[in-house]
């Protein structure tokens, strides 16, 4: 790559293609000419295969804090069913979890445990800041609420709303899978922050 890729589009994120099926191949695809070659011979790089496998069973960590945790519970229930993405096994220990869904408002007293749990997760790991309170402190700007969880852990996906509907959280999860399959590295590598 000529310059250090900074924006998601530079990594060739094709998420627009889903929403905009008639969009042609992105610059990334034209450069490599993978459009017909890959489809014809079914070639894939090892990296893509590993990325595909990683998104097929990304186990979230039960990090339920406040009201968003109730909506996070309901995406495991039968109507929204996260099992379709292989994610219904909510691991309680960070050692076995790949995805940390911070669902709820983070008080300063909870900042240290949150940070320790994030450090104890094994790479590759992702963080979804679920809800307005986790993304930006929400409607609480006071002495005890952390104004956004990205001050202590690098966040991949911010899901708005308070609390986000299960569909909204699932949209965030689908975007995360798609970004990862498109080659976007997890947040801690992009911003050289946490590791």
């Amino acid at each position: 790559m000529a310059d250090e890729p900074t924006r998601l589009r530079d990594y060739g994120l094709q998420s627009e293609r889903l929403l905009w099926p008639t969009k042609g191949p992105s610059r990334f695809e034209e450069e490599l000419g993978v459009e017909d070659l890959e489809r014809a011979l079914g070639l894939t790089t090892l990296d893509k295969a590993v990325r595909w496998a990683q998104t097929k069973s990304m186990w979230p960590d039960t990090f339920g804090l406040a009201c968003c945790a109730i909506e996070m519970m309901s995406i495991v229930s039968s109507r929204y069913d996260l099992a379709r993405f292989g994610m219904e096994a909510f691991r309680s220990s960070p050692r076995q979890a790949d995805l940390l869904i911070v669902s709820g408002r983070v008080a300063h007293k909870m900042a240290a445990p949150l940070r320790q749990i994030y450090d104890q997760m094994l790479e590759p790991k992702w963080v979804i800041a679920m809800g307005a309170c986790a993304s930006s402190g929400g409607m609480f700007n006071n002495y005890t609420i952390l104004q956004g969880v990205d001050r202590i852990v690098p966040v991949d996906i911010y899901v708005p709303f308070c609390p986000p509907r299960p569909e909204a959280l699932m949209e965030g999860i689908i975007r995360l899978h798609e970004a990862h399959q498109a080659g976007v590295p997890p947040a801690y590598e992009r911003r050289e922050v946490a590791t």
């Binding site: 406040a66 109730i70 509907r165």
Partner: protein, 435 residues
């Protein structure tokens, strides 16, 4: 101090209390009522393993941290540490106008959000001495009872999940989704509806709501029978819940327990019947009281309450169906926003609209404590107003805050597996505890 005060014949309680209290005397720890100290002789033998039932634990229903001292598997010491979800509601609400404050209490008890919003709105209305139309009162009763069922369903789903009955989680959340559909139809949001306004309701009731709600009311008893069939004669469930986490009536009152925790210990007290608010005095319902004081009885009280709440929702529905076209919010222009179309014609309405939206309506000076029966117990709101557009002091009496004080007393000589059943049965919501 009588355990269950005698009642006049008219009393609606017909579950007589015949059983003796679960244990004699009081089990409240002597030194500090909320900390179970390790007995001295065990302390010396450093066999004690201290573990953190910490903030991120699947079975603590949120960010509760229990420092547990174990002798083998037996719990000999317990200290509950809270504050990991302290959100400073009371300080933040002092900076907001009365109008904006209404949406904060929902986030405190995020399972019984409709009841939490109700207690704040009732307190402000009492300070304002504003008269709420009948249709709004009945609709508030209906939504609060739906919210009670919703909260008990989540309790049942998660507590059974922790004790191994995993399928209960999916059954309960199936009913919960139906309730959330009803909320979404009426208020537009699944949770945190902000549907109660000071003076009545925010919007009128949409048409299709009554048939939908009737369908739910007809289906719910069958669902409750399914749950009872699944759990009530299940040997594992009975083994894990009967005789575990005992709390006698005297200890329950001394520790300030309210709601299902209190009624499961034999004290016959329900604010909906003993200090009626909203439309509870015109609605017929029974208050379930069990005297066992263990995890099983708390589960039984909540199951019966769900059945009673369904009956209340049914009666509210019948009344509401005859009230079409009635006003759903008070018409006091100083407090309630005037209807939109009136703005184009009347100057006063425009001024009132402007005053209420910019500066916020003013509440007369005074202090007040209003208590209602939330799904977890007595949820109170203490308001101090200096006559200005912002509250001077807001304080919420949280039933979960008090429920966790009883963990040290309920432990008795439980093993660590029972600890999960006990903490689950106290049904404490951490947002409510930490405020």
């Amino acid at each position: 101090m009588t355990v269950a005060p005698e009642r006049s014949a008219r009393s609606r309680r017909d579950w007589p209390i015949v059983f003796p209290p679960p244990y004699e005397g009081s089990r409240i720890p002597a030194r500090v009522p909320t900390i179970l100290d390790v007995p001295a002789e065990l302390l010396a033998t450093d066999d004690i393993l201290q573990i953190n039932f910490g903030p991120n634990h699947p079975s603590t229903h949120g960010v509760l941290r229990l420092i547990v001292d174990l002798d083998g598997e037996r719990v000999v010491g317990l200290n509950a540490v809270i504050g990991y979800l302290h959100t400073g509601f009371e300080k933040t609400m002092e900076q907001k106008t009365w109008w904006k404050c209404v949406t904060y209490p929902e986030r405190i008890d995020y399972l019984g959000y409709q009841n939490a919003e109700l207690v704040f709105v009732l307190a402000v209305e009492r300070l304002l001495a504003i008269e709420v139309p009948e249709k709004a009162t009945w609709m508030r009763t209906l939504l609060c009872e739906l919210n009670r069922i919703h909260s008990h369903l989540i309790f049942l789903g998660t507590s059974a999940l922790e004790l191994g009955a995993i399928s209960m989680f999916w059954y309960c959340f199936r009913e919960r989704e139906t309730i959330l559909d009803l909320y979404e139809m009426v208020t537009g949001a699944r949770m945190h509806t902000r549907y109660f306004q000071v003076g009545g309701l925010a919007e009128d009731i949409p048409e299709g709501f009554y048939p939908e709600c009737r369908k739910f009311v007809e289906w719910m008893p069958h669902a409750l029978d399914d749950y009872l069939a699944l759990l009530d004669r299940n040997a594992i469930w009975l083994e894990r819940t009967k005789g575990v986490g005992l709390l006698s009536a005297q200890d329950a009152i001394a520790l300030g327990q309210t709601g299902p925790n209190l009624r499961a210990s034999g004290v016959d007290w329900d604010l909906r019947r003993d200090q009626p608010y909203l439309a509870y005095d015109q609605v017929d319902f029974r208050v379930p009281v069990y005297a066992g004081g263990d995890v099983y009885d708390r589960y039984r009280v909540r199951m019966d309450e769900m059945a009673e709440s369904t009956r209340i929702v049914d009666q509210c529905l019948r009344r509401l169906e005859r009230m079409d076209g009635r006003p759903w919010i008070a018409d006091d222009r100083k407090v309630v926003l005037p209807p939109r179309e009136e703005l184009h014609t009347s100057m006063e309405s425009l001024i009132h609209h402007f005053k209420i939206v910019t500066e916020g309506f003013r509440v007369p000076e005074g202090e007040i404590y209003v208590a209602i029966e939330s799904p977890r117990g007595e949820s109170g709101c203490y308001l101090v107003s200096d006559g200005g557009p912002k509250p001077w002091r807001v304080h919420f009496r949280a039933p979960s805050f008090v429920a966790l004080e009883a963990t040290a007393t309920c432990i008795g000589d439980a093993i660590i597996a029972d600890l999960i059943a006990i903490v689950g049965s106290l049904d404490a919501v951490m947002g409510d505890t930490d405020r």
